[in-house]
């Protein structure tokens, strides 16, 4: 029997058919000039036959002075596939908002042609440019060329991961703060935390400009900074009427879907009870020419989202209901430092900050990071009556209380 992958790739070839662009075609394009990509194609074909992966746990590899940014990867069949015995990944910090010039893209491509497999992910789940597959020897030379061209590595392991941002004010009328400026500033401010893992586990920032949350920050970021506003939605009544004339059923598809039923349409005038508006964005999404977020803009800061490992998945929950997001962001950064201090002190190995918050209780967590509790932080107050009061009066206490006052 022909050995899978050594004599053609019949299974992977199937994935070159069909209308969606094929990753197999991409590996083959790279394989024409690169022996690592050629070997990868063979190994992947073998995985398709055997229905199992052939990669081992990462070892500790990296560039000098950094603890993150490189994912060590080794094949479990090094003798059979010597060209990908090492197949490490570099995470390269993407330009904020994933904007590129053609020259910058070509620079990355040229570096990766000289030093790696020629395969990439545009982009990884956290947002980095993923340079997929090289040997240990090539890490330092790749890094030297990247930094010579003003690129640097992103995060991995128990560090601050590469912050990411939605397209923000660069191309979106709904951006309630400058997501690109904040993500870039956080990235530059916390270079040490990004490159040298010193936390209990990973910590992600994601900056979303409005409650549509195009970077999924509420599901994927330990700190989710989501733009919002606190005054009135801006209405252009002429454009509301125009939207109706263009075929939108405003009563059915806008008013009836408002979560707090705070919007009314009488066929002539659209009225919004802004005090009851929860800034869900539905009416604005539906009529982008007629409605815009208010002018007093800022963000809600939420904390703690993560995927299931270990204690179950979490969404971020409200930490600061509304704050202005303006440079130099001192208030925000001070709070981040307090959170990191408490987490570094009390977090267990591989415990995300959301899990720590649950384990110690939100009330205690807030005290530790010096944030006042507010009702916006909860879906509802507690239902269980087992309250941990920390102090109680003893006989004779009352007089002392009065004296203190």
């Amino acid at each position: 029997m022909a050995e899978p992958g050594k004599n053609g790739t019949p299974m992977l070839d199937e994935l070159e058919k069909g209308p969606w662009p094929s990753f197999v075609t991409q590996i083959k394009e790279a394989a024409e000039k690169n022996k690592m990509s050629k070997a990868l194609l063979s190994l992947l074909e073998r995985s398709y036959h055997e229905r199992i992966g052939h990669w081992k746990h990462g070892g500790i590899v990296g560039v000098m002075g950094y603890g993150g940014g490189v994912i060590g990867r080794y094949s479990d069949l090094p003798e059979e596939y010597p060209d990908i015995a090492h197949f490490h990944t570099l995470r390269v910090n993407m330009p904020t908002g994933w904007f590129y010039t053609s020259d910058a893209l070509r620079t990355i491509c040229d570096i990766w042609e000289r030093h790696g497999s020629g395969l990439t992910n545009m982009h990884g789940s956290t947002g980095d440019i993923i340079l997929l597959g090289t040997t240990t020897d090539e890490l330092e030379p790749t890094f030297a060329e990247l930094t010579a061209n003003d690129f640097d590595l992103g995060g991995s392991g128990s560090d601050m991961r590469t912050p990411s941002a939605c397209v923000g004010p660069a191309r979106c009328e709904w951006a309630c703060y400058d997501t690109l400026a904040l993500a870039y500033d956080l990235t530059q401010t916390f270079q040490d935390e990004l490159h040298r893992p010193a936390f209990p586990y990973k910590f992600k920032f994601k900056c979303a400009g409005c409650p549509n949350d195009c970077v999924a920050s509420i599901a994927r970021a330990d700190m989710s900074i989501i733009g919002t506003w606190r005054d009135e939605i801006q209405i252009d009544q002429k454009e509301v009427k125009a939207a109706e004339e263009a075929g939108l059923n405003i009563q059915r598809d806008v008013c009836n879907l408002c979560p707090t039923k705070c919007i009314e349409w009488d066929g002539k005038k659209l009225e919004i009870d802004d005090e009851n508006c929860v800034k869900c964005m539905h009416c604005i999404n539906t009529m982008p020419k007629a409605l815009r977020p208010g002018k007093d803009r800022g963000a809600t800061i939420l904390l703690g989202a993560k995927a299931p490992i270990v204690e179950g998945a979490l969404l971020s929950s409200v930490l600061v209901p509304f704050t202005k997001i303006e440079p130099p962001y001192e208030e925000l950064k001070d709070m981040v430092e307090r959170i990191w201090d408490f987490w570094s002190e009390h977090g267990k190995n591989r415990e995300r900050v959301g899990e720590l918050m649950q384990r110690v209780g939100l009330g205690n967590f807030l005290e530790a990071i010096e944030v006042e509790p507010t009702p916006e932080m909860l879906a509802h107050p507690r239902e269980n009556p087992y309250v941990f009061y920390e102090e109680y009066y003893e006989e004779g206490d009352e007089e002392e209380e009065e004296e203190e006052e």
Partner: protein, 356 residues
């Protein structure tokens, strides 16, 4: 002569990569319109217009393909382009007369244009067998097979609302699929094997502490310190494997795929919410995973046929109720659908508001 080694410089400043129309109108966009599938225009308060053409990509791309994107950006967009959070590539134009030619070139290269508005956008996904040590399934292969099948929903077939699909090849969820309209999630179903010499490569106390159900205990086998696993308490999270390579989980006979539905991250209308289990297990059947492709299409079609305007998958299911979701999709309800981890009770039905 040694030059000083540059470190901690961070990424290049994004401002250097913005097209001039964006620099001029930064933060001053007024509204946008979707002109046709995959094409939108943003209009600034100044009256300037920025046209965006969005094309699908396989995410895993060779440098040769990226150079072709760079050439297209030079030809049509003064050298400017960007990528989206769902791995699409966006070309940014100021001259709308160039749009048709750009789309033709993209089609020639094999990249469909679409994914804006009420459409299925690209599937965010993980590495799978291409590069991951803990994968329970491949990622790129399933994504390719599913998008081949659903691509008409990317390129313009009308839909009630947005539909976001994501894939993660194990519970680590590098793809954070847990808040998607449809999530495809690789799962293991066999407890880890315990390799000899475990104490040489792993810290046993760390291994024991890594287990969320306390199923791992210290043991001594043939005079060597190792661990034993209470298999009945293993729920296949693979956290022990993450801290200890001597506890491999991958198993060709038992690994496969589960399907989850009804999650979202947007705040529009209803609050962000997790996806819920629809199908506990489908087999790994490469190269095209026909069972997974069929299951996803079935769920998409049931939603497409029955959802009201703007209803996301989860909002649709909440309106009709889960029993009816199972009936409409023909998916068998099983014991595995019932949660048995922390807070499981919160998912029990605690009222008599039932449809009979």
């Amino acid at each position: 002569m040694a030059t000083e080694r540059r470190t901690d410089i961070g990424p290049p400043n994004y401002q250097n990569f913005l097209p001039s129309v964006i620099k001029k109108n930064y933060g001053k966009w007024k509204y946008h319109e979707i002109l046709r599938p995959g094409v939108m225009v943003h209009v600034a308060e100044s009256g300037d217009k920025l046209f965006t053409v969005r094309a699908g990509s396989p995410r895993l791309m060779s440098i040769h393909r990226i150079r072709k994107f760079a050439d297209l950006a030079d030809k049509y967009c003064d050298g400017h382009l960007r990528f989206t959070s769902r791995n699409n590539v966006e070309f940014l134009l100021t001259d709308d007369s160039k749009i048709d030619a750009l789309i033709a070139d993209l089609k020639e290269l094999g990249h469909p244009v679409g994914g804006i508005g009420n459409a299925i956008s690209n599937i965010v996904h993980t590495q799978g067998w291409v590069h991951c040590h803990s994968a329970a399934t491949d990622a790129s292969g399933i994504v390719k097979a599913v998008m081949d099948d659903l691509h008409e929903y990317f390129t313009g077939k009308e839909m009630p609302g947005k539909l976001r699909i994501a894939l993660a090849c194990c519970l680590n969820m590098c793809g954070a699929v847990h808040c998607s309209d449809i999530a495809i999630l690789g799962i293991h179903r066999r407890p880890p094997r315990i390799l000899g010499g475990l104490n040489k490569v792993c810290e046993i106390p760390n291994v024991i502490a890594s287990c969320p159900t306390a199923a791992i205990r210290p043991a001594t086998v043939e005079g060597q310190a190792t661990v034993e696993i209470d298999e009945e308490n293993c729920m296949f999270c693979a956290n022990c494997f993450s801290v200890c390579p001597a506890l491999p989980m991958a198993d060709a006979l038992n690994d496969g795929v589960s399907i989850w539905v009804g999650g979202k991250v947007s705040n529009a209308r209803s609050e962000p919410t997790f996806s819920k289990l629809a199908i506990p297990f489908l087999p790994n059947n490469p190269p095209r995973w026909p069972e997974v492709v069929e299951a996803v299409r079935n769920i998409v079609e049931v939603w497409h046929k029955n959802a009201r305007n703007f209803e996301r998958m989860g909002e649709f299911i909440n309106r009709i109720g889960w029993p009816r979701f199972f009936k409409l999709t023909g998916i068998e309800f099983q014991k595995e659908h019932i949660d048995d981890f922390k807070y499981a009770g919160l998912s029990y039905k605690r009222s008599v508001q039932l449809r009979h």
